[in-house]
Symmetry: C2
Subunit: 338 residues, 2 copies
DNA sequence: TGCTGGCACTCGCCTGCGGTGAGTGCCAAG
DNA sequence: CTTGGCACTCACCGCAGGCGAGTGCCAGCA
């Protein structure tokens, strides 16, 4: 177990390195922090910390930089989430409040988060699977062609074209629309399959095929998890990444383009509370030199989706975590209001 | 006026520089191209070309690189759009054909374009203003709350929440829905205002206020040009930009994040035919070291939106233009089919 | 046992220096 | 108008030396 002072030294190293982006040495440490001991002592502590794998030196006779393990310890034990100041909170609220629809909410959130953290922001659209149905609309576009429009309580709209085997009469369609809505409106997605199971039986034989087609399209839309969308922003902040650019930045940009990767990334995070994945803790190789801070957000008490930021492992964790948490809270509020 | 050979020299310079990314000298030119003259002659020609502002040297005693003006002459007079090969065309078609909805079409297009050109691709969603109405749906969510859903012939869906002053009866709403659709379905957006002008008169006095509210919401949705969305992809290709990275890439990333900037960028392009904006021809400062190749695409003969790529001024213009044109054509086809 | 000051050592970074070579401009001759 | 020749420029490369931040180790002291 590390002594109290050694933890203090580690904290100082992380803070200084995050600030200066340069390896930090024993002398500089004692000057900038009131550790109450001499550089020589600090050197001994550093040697111990290095032995344990919390810090490393890029080359002999240079200062130390924290390792992923060092950051991990810092985040778990040494850092407190930095709360936003009152003016910041007000600014967040004002900025989000002006949103006119869901796209706008997500767009504003991503811009806000990128600006606050000066990092790349990722915001997942409120997920379908946990929300409830507000309305299902069926439109006849051609005799044997129906458009299904699904409206959720989060304001999201999903549409889908359905080709029927046989012409679908306007009255039957209206009938189906009415029955469908009376059964599923206000219900959770997960409950829908059970609720519509016996619907075809209520129809004439000649319509049952079409009804089933429509219902299965509806169910597909509901479970289609890969339809989950997200928005990213603040990629320009990647330029502040480090000196040895092209090599570091390229895989990150590539990873960010793959929605699948990002969704998995956010999905891996714990459902409640904040998750911080540091460097190699990220499964995706391209993100091995980045840290991901993510958290769930939702309109009620429950999380319906996640958001987070991607930045260099060398990031201001307390500040970033504070910003992420605050933004998640306010987005939840905004969604609950609308 | 420049002599035939000098134009030939300029073409050779552009081609070599695009290939090697290094200033090209007189000797290398005569070796790689069959100009039929000696290096000394080429030197004279180069001096003349520099005098006219078509090429420049980064520093004394280095080779020449084309200026924006040089590239301009190259694309206007010296380069032919390189047609795609048959296998490439097949690949494009196959790749786009699997799309299941509009989002997917746009997503596939942007990925395809980025991959083909190895540059940043930008695809605008089919624009509302030029398309036609397929269906208007009105849903009563609460007594005095209506959701308007607008479906276009390009498969795009726009929704909007409307707060009414007074409760809007279900039957009146159904009436409005029916009348509205009979008037505007299949009509162009531009014609809608004229077509619905006298609609309120057909309703009872107590409903007129609500009808007007709904209609003005519809009209707003129609003209709301800033609702235009677009998708970008291939940002990882920015890493191939040049050596002096951070400075070049940052403003480009920033510009790409501003949808407004991009929409304006595409909007400036000619309606038909391909547009190439080179370096400082781009109004936005951040894109002064990039070229933008854009073209309209559409489901019928008419363009409904634009797409294009953003890359370094030092790009393979014939190849890029060929790819952009081919992709635009096939997207048009796909949209027409669906 | 743990902290401290001292000391020799390492090694990345900066600077200055000459050599090299690609590329240029100019000129006189064909 | 083209061409070969020639002197000149200047970015780039490699090398050596000095500087300095930072380290590890050790002996002395509380």
């Amino acid at each position: 177990m590390l002594s109290e002072r050694r933890l203090e030294v580690l904290r100082a190293i992380v803070q200084d390195y995050v600030g200066t982006e340069e390896p930090v040495g024993s002398k500089a440490l004692t000057e900038r922090h009131r550790l109450g001991v001499s550089p020589a002592t600090v050197r001994n502590d550093m040697a111990a910390l290095e032995e344990e794998g919390y810090i490393a030196q890029p080359h002999t006779s240079a200062g130390r930089i924290p390792t992923d393990k060092g950051y991990r310890l810092f985040v778990d034990k040494l850092a407190a989430v930095k709360p936003m100041t009152a003016p910041e909170r007000r600014a967040i609220h004002n900025f989000l409040e002006g949103a006119v629809d869901l796209d706008d909410v997500v767009g504003r959130t991503v811009r806000l988060l990128a600006q606050l953290t000066r990092q790349v922001a990722v915001v997942q659209y409120p997920s379908l699977t946990r929300s409830t149905v507000r309305h299902v609309e069926l439109l006849s576009l051609a005799p044997a062609r129906v458009m299904l429009v699904l409206i959720t309580d989060t304001g999201r709209v999903e549409q889908r074209m359905i080709d029927c085997h046989a012409p679908f009469g306007e009255t039957s369609l209206a009938d189906l629309r009415a029955r469908l809505n009376s059964r599923v409106a206000g219900r959770r997605f997960a409950d829908v399959p059970r609720l519509v199971e016996d619907l075809p039986e209520a129809f004439d034989v000649e319509d049952r095929g079409n009804v089933s087609t429509v219902l299965s399209a509806l169910l597909e839309t509901l479970v289609e998890e890969n339809e989950e969308r997200l928005m990213i922003g603040g990629t320009a902040n990647l330029t502040r990444f480090g000196h040895d650019f092209p090599l570091t930045i390229r895989p990150v940009l590539e990873a960010l383009e793959e929605q699948v990767v990002l969704l998995k990334l956010l999905g891996e995070a714990k459902d409640s509370g904040m998750t911080v994945r540091i460097g190699h803790e990220n499964a995706h190789e391209g993100l091995n030199s980045t840290s991901v801070v993510s958290v769930g957000y939702g309109s009620g008490g429950e999380a319906v989706a996640k958001l987070g930021v991607v930045g260099p492992t060398r990031m201001d964790y307390p500040g970033t975590m504070g910003a992420v948490r605050a933004v998640a809270r306010y987005v939840g509020q905004i969604l609950a209001e609308s």
